[in-house]
Amino acid sequence: MDQQITCINCPVGCRMTVTLSESGEIQSITGNTCPRGEKYARQECTLPLRMITAVIPVENSATPLSVKTASPVPKHLIPEVMAALKTVRISAPVALGQTVLPDVCGTGVPVIATRPLE
């Protein structure tokens, strides 16, 4: 089975083809022009990761709080992370970098504030 992947590392945007065996193992990667492409394609075919950023409401502030996962989390968890963020109850003041959710969806990754809010 072949998977098409566009490299995101630079503006060249190499279009790569990853050939996977029936058990999902990578057999070949073609179309990349540098090693960064191969590394990216390998990651995308095994466990694609994404940073998630969002805004959440704050109980005593009209301005919402912008937050991010402290590191990238598996892409397939994006809907669950967004759902988990909906349950967060937080009040100002909030400091930049403050944890608003310690371990989102069992990833071990905290969600932190990306701005101060007075």
Partner: protein, 419 residues
């Protein structure tokens, strides 16, 4: 009205204004005033809550608010005075700035040097000549971004995006994550002007279709938007009859370009460049009016805030040198856009620069395995190969002072892309 005096007055406390202020203060200028129209400093970064900022400058990926906060904190540490809720009404050629604010009313300030750092704004619907009704539900992508990220409400539930610039792509993802359905992203050109990274992570990740060589050919709705019609366009960008698709939606976001906001500059008599819509500047970021400098998106629209900061540090240093009268008049050589090049900044370079000169431009098309050549007469100042040049990515080159040795100023410097 009393006339207040400052050494350097900076208009705008976004990334450009903050970096310029920091640089000038670090050079020892005490009297610096930054005027900001919004209630807080930070500029457009405040609403850019996604990550990807700061890779060049800080070697880490920050979100917009985090990037802004670093400069805000540094400016506070240095005791720089930033006044918010102040709108500048005019700048005179002799650097008298007239401004108004709720607390202090109307004021006039005489500045030793002025740094223009007002940023840019989005091209509006009126500039597109889109057909259809004037219903509610049509926003520029940046307006929608402000609503969602700073004011905490959603502008709609079913969304079509016209234009595939990075703000449009980022908003496709944001609207999806915050619960809306994004039906399509429509681009009139055969390629997207957005980064590959954003096409992958903002559209493909959420199965949002990107229609290249398509545009919106009708907008329908009485009070609120009800649907838009999207048609394919031919190679001359004319809609092809029979290709219409109807999308039922309540929101249309426009991401169709940014324009430097130069009304104040024009009022000061600053010469503007038709290629960049920003000021014509020398390598010290000084405009055609002595003592008035420009940097950031008001000078030319950047892709990366890292480049904005870098340019603005240079403007701050140059303004500090100006108020100390360290610079004497020197001859300037013109920089000319050659083949494949649009909007070179700076447009003029001192004959014998003492520090490296950063030259930036936007390629006018996509060129593969080509070289940028910067030359004057028969002398090549710089020649560099690149696998790709695209209009979506600003090209930037540093020229060391020794590159300019032997130039007598009799011929302009030409920048071109050679295939």
């Amino acid at each position: 009205m009393n006339l207040q005096h400052v050494d350097i007055l900076i208009i705008g406390a976004g990334p450009a204004g903050l970096a310029a202020a920091i640089a000038a203060r670090e050079d020892g200028v005490d009297s610096i005033l930054v005027l900001e129209r919004e209630a807080q400093p930070g500029g457009i970064l405040r609403q850019c809550i996604h990550n990807g900022f700061g890779l060049h400058r800080f070697r880490e990926e920050l979100t917009g608010p985090e990037y802004a906060q670093r400069d805000i904190d540094r400016a506070r540490e240095l005791g720089i005075s930033i006044e918010c809720n102040v709108t500048v009404l005019s700048v005179s050629p002799d650097r008298v700035v007239t401004c108004v604010s709720p607390l202090q009313g109307l004021r006039r300030i005489q500045a030793g040097a002025v740094i223009l750092a007002m940023g840019c704004r989005e091209r509006p619907r009126g500039a597109l000549c889109t057909p259809g009704t004037r219903c509610a539900g049509i926003y520029s992508a940046g307006t929608a971004q402000r609503f969602v990220n700073l004011e905490g409400f959603m502008p709609g539930r079913r969304v079509v995006i016209l234009g595939s610039g990075d703000i449009g792509l980022i908003m496709a993802r944001r609207m999806t994550l915050q619960g809306a359905k994004v039906l399509a992203c429509v681009e009139i050109m055969p390629y997207s002007s957005g980064l590959n990274r954003n096409i992958v992570q903002c559209l493909q990740d959420y199965d949002i279709p990107l229609y290249l060589s398509h545009t919106v050919t009708d907008i329908r709705g009485r009070e609120r938007l009800e649907s838009v019609v999207v048609s394919q366009v031919d190679e001359r960008r004319r809609p092809v009859p029979g290709t219409e698709m109807v999308f039922e939606c309540d929101t249309l976001l426009l991401s169709v370009g940014l324009i430097p906001e130069n009304e104040l500059s024009e009022g000061a008599g600053v010469e503007l460049s038709p290629a960049t819509s920003g000021a014509v500047v020398s390598d010290t970021l000084e405009t055609s009016v002595p003592g008035i400098f420009a940097c950031g998106n008001v000078l030319h629209v950047h892709d990366l805030v890292d480049h904005v900061s870098d340019e603005s540090f240079r403007a701050g240093h140059a303004a500090a040198a100006y108020v100390r009268s360290e610079r004497k008049a020197e001859r300037l050589i013109s920089v000319v856009d050659g083949a494949g090049v649009r909007g070179c900044v700076p447009q003029k370079i001192h004959l014998a620069p003492v520090s490296p000169v950063t030259l930036m431009f936007r390629p006018s098309g996509v060129f593969r395995n080509a070289s940028v050549v910067i030359s004057s007469g028969k002398k090549d100042l710089l020649r560099r190969k690149s696998m790709i040049f695209t209009p979506g990515e600003m090209a930037a080159y540093d020229l060391k002072p020794e590159c300019f040795e032997g130039l007598d100023g009799s011929e302009p410097i030409t920048v071109r892309i050679e295939e």
